[in-house]
């Protein structure tokens, strides 16, 4: 077969994807930005906003008894190393409000006659008021209280004769989310915007700056090949960002998200594509790499301010709300909150996903339209 017959027409996306990925893998910046940054940011956020101590569940205790038995029981709770006792109250009301306000996951009530029942060998009980809006944590706390109660009962049986201590469980509905969990959407928004946008924003202008663009456009590649080739390659390289951040948060900070992994991934993917398209658009219009980085950072600041991450958009002025409606991150934060914290399916945030996709399409169309296959 001659060379002439062997030359294929059509799209040239695959060789471009191949090339971009090889270059990304060889660039130490990629490792830094794609792997290290999400983990670092997540860890910083975790320590900054987590505040739950090392794997202990924050609870409060309401000691209505005030006797030696109650004192001994509280000591057992502490010794178990499973609880971080934030406060010991004298009234049930204080205990309840600590759960309602979301400061702790549960409040344990020791009834008035606890010591008396104990020393007389009568059956008694402890009452756990737990926050049912976080079932998995509640489960763990109930088990832990069960274990402590069991041990305490064995000790008491030895000293005071046979009797029973029954843990009683009552549900309380606290606020939906707490601390680190509530920051997960903000964290994801940051990671899915900052890294991909700035990484891809230099991809075209770097080729112009280094002169490789001049050779590149001497082949039958089209604007379409370049835009979609780069988009696909950077997507493959940065999708790990989202997954990595989620896993880091879950493993290190015990974050329990209600959403399924699939739903969260779908919402993240839609936003990631948006960030990459914005970066491509920046790259098309930037003269050099410095300009591209500056534009990425600027867009990131605007996005953070108007996405509802720092201040809820509802409390902003109407002008600011208008700006927010043009900020794709706003739709992501809204959608990701619903999916990750309320456990909604991605189908229930289809409006936000559609809006983000419209922005993505607009960025891509503008990139295709304005990418000039010329050198300057």
């Amino acid at each position: 077969m001659s060379l002439e017959e062997g030359i294929r027409k059509g799209l040239r996306i695959i060789p471009i994807v191949d090339k971009e990925i090889r270059q990304l893998v060889r660039d130490p910046k990629t490792i830094l930005m794609v792997l290290l940054m999400p983990i670092t940011v997540t860890i910083l956020f975790g320590y900054g906003y987590g505040g739950k101590g090392a794997g202990k569940y924050p609870i409060t205790v309401v000691d209505l008894d005030g006797g030696d038995g109650a004192f001994k029981f509280i000591q057992e709770l502490r010794n178990s190393k499973m609880f971080d006792i934030k406060a010991i109250y004298r009234s049930k009301g204080q205990g309840f409000s600590s759960v309602y306000s979301g400061r702790v996951y549960a409040s344990l009530v020791i009834p008035e006659t606890f010591t008396e029942d104990l020393t007389k060998g009568r059956p008694t009980r402890v009452e756990l008021y737990y926050d049912a809006s976080n079932p998995s944590v509640a489960q763990m706390i109930m088990q832990a209280v069960g274990v402590v109660t069991q041990q305490f009962q064995e000790w008491a049986a030895d000293r005071f004769g046979t009797f029973a201590i029954t843990p009683m469980f009552y549900t309380v509905y606290g606020p939906k989310v707490k601390k680190i969990e509530s920051f997960i959407p903000a964290l994801m928004a940051m990671i899915l915007q900052m890294v991909p946008t700035s990484l891809i924003s230099v991809s075209i202008c770097r080729e112009r700056e280094k002169g490789t663009f001049e050779q590149f456009i001497m082949t039958p590649v089209s604007v379409f090949d370049i835009i979609f080739g780069k988009l696909a390659a950077y997507f493959l390289a940065t999708i790990s960002d989202a997954i990595l951040s989620l896993f880091t948060a879950m493993l290190l900070f015990d974050v329990r998200l209600k959403g399924t992994f699939l739903d969260m991934t779908i919402v993240s993917t839609v936003f990631l594509l948006n960030s990459l398209s914005l970066g491509l658009l920046i790259s098309v219009f930037s003269r050099n790499q410095l300009q591209a980085y500056q534009a990425s950072i600027f867009s990131f600041i605007v996005f953070m301010l108007f996405s509802g991450v720092l201040v809820p958009v509802d409390v902003l002025s109407s002008e600011a709300r208008l700006i927010a409606s043009f900020v794709p991150m706003y739709y992501f934060v809204t959608a990701f909150r619903s999916v990750s914290l309320k456990g909604w399916s991605y189908l229930m945030v289809v409006d936000q996903l559609t809006t983000m996709t419209l922005f993505t399409v607009a960025f891509l169309v503008l990139s295709l339209r304005f990418l000039r296959m010329e050198v300057t």
């Binding site: 060379l3 002439e4 059509g10 090339k19 090889r22 490789t212 001049e214 050779q215 296959m373």
Partner: protein, 315 residues
């Protein structure tokens, strides 16, 4: 080397430019130039830095748009049907333009694939080029880690990956050592013998002697065009010959003599119409006039001298 089968069908003119002009703001980089490069020719574009050579080349390859005029490559308008024209053009830009973070082999492979080669054909082609340009043992080295000469060889191999009929080389030997420069020109001549049309820019006048035809550029204009010999003739108004004789005569009486550049007691530097035809006649005539001719030979004129004369005239 795989031959381009359609070579025979290609039009006679490889490059045709008419009224080609490029303005950058108020600055006219290329000013209404006309160029005709015939198929199979080794054509040199010569001129000092800033003469507009690169801008002209870039308009021919279509990486910048002309402000006025047009370029056709094998009859295809580059501005209008760029993709079709690219099939016939291999281009080596002045600055190394390959990916420094890809290896030698990856660069050639990438360009092969971008040109549309696949499978066995691609593999064979890459291997062939690596071997031909002595890059085989360096194939796994990153392009950024190559020496200047190797980078140039890689750039040449890449420009040839789709076996183009027209090879455009912008200052291919800039910054290359003289022995390597010679080696490069051997490559170019060999490619030229294989039937490729070559358009090369350079500011090394000695290299330009290798070209079939030349165009001299200065300040965005073509100031002279023709074979190296024709250009020298035009610059001097004829051929330069040296005559040494005993006896007294007026050199203007000799046949074909147009002017006398030097007259130092028996040694003359003369401009004649055509040295090949006129020298025997001059010897004969001088002896008829009673002088004894000790030496009569054409004098080599460097292109540089010719060029300087033209530059002087155009300014």
């Amino acid at each position: 080397m795989l031959e381009l089968e359609r070579m025979g069908e290609l039009p006679e003119l490889a490059v045709e430019a008419k009224g080609l002009t490029k303005r950058f703001g108020n600055f006219v980089a290329v000013n209404h130039i006309n160029l005709s490069i015939r198929r199979g020719e080794n054509f040199g574009l010569l001129g000092p830095n800033g003469a507009g050579k690169t801008t002209t080349i870039r308009m021919i390859t279509g990486v910048i748009r002309p402000s006025e005029g047009y370029v056709r490559v094998f009859g295809i308008d580059v501005a209008r049907e760029r993709k079709r024209a690219l099939r016939y053009i291999g281009y080596m830009p002045q600055r190394f333009s390959l990916y420094e973070d890809l290896t030698v082999e990856e660069n050639i492979r990438l360009y092969g694939r971008l040109q549309g080669l696949t499978g066995n054909l691609l593999r064979e082609r890459v291997r062939e080029l690596l071997e031909r340009f002595y890059l085989w043992e360096f194939r796994r080295r990153l392009a950024g880690k190559l020496s200047g000469g190797m980078k140039q060889r890689l750039a040449l191999a890449t420009a040839l990956v789709h076996d183009p009929a027209l090879l455009i080389l912008d200052e291919p030997t800039a910054g290359v050592d003289p022995p390597l420069r010679r080696k490069f020109w051997e490559h170019f001549r060999e490619l030229n013998r294989e039937g490729k049309t070559i358009l090369v820019t350079t500011h090394y006048m000695d290299e330009a002697e290798n070209c079939d035809r030349l165009a001299l550029m200065n300040r965005g204009r073509i100031i002279a065009e023709g074979s190296p010999r024709e250009i020298k003739r035009k610059a001097l108004g004829g051929d330069l010959v040296e005559i040494v004789l005993e006896g007294d005569l007026n050199p203007m009486e000799l046949p074909g003599v147009r002017s006398v550049l030097e007259d130092s007691g028996g040694r003359y530097l003369l401009i004649v119409k055509d040295s090949g035809r006129d020298l025997p006649r001059i010897v004969k005539r001088a002896e008829e006039l009673g002088a004894r001719v000790l030496l009569a030979s054409p004098v080599h004129v460097s292109l540089e001298e010719a060029f300087i004369r033209f530059m002087g005239e155009s300014e």
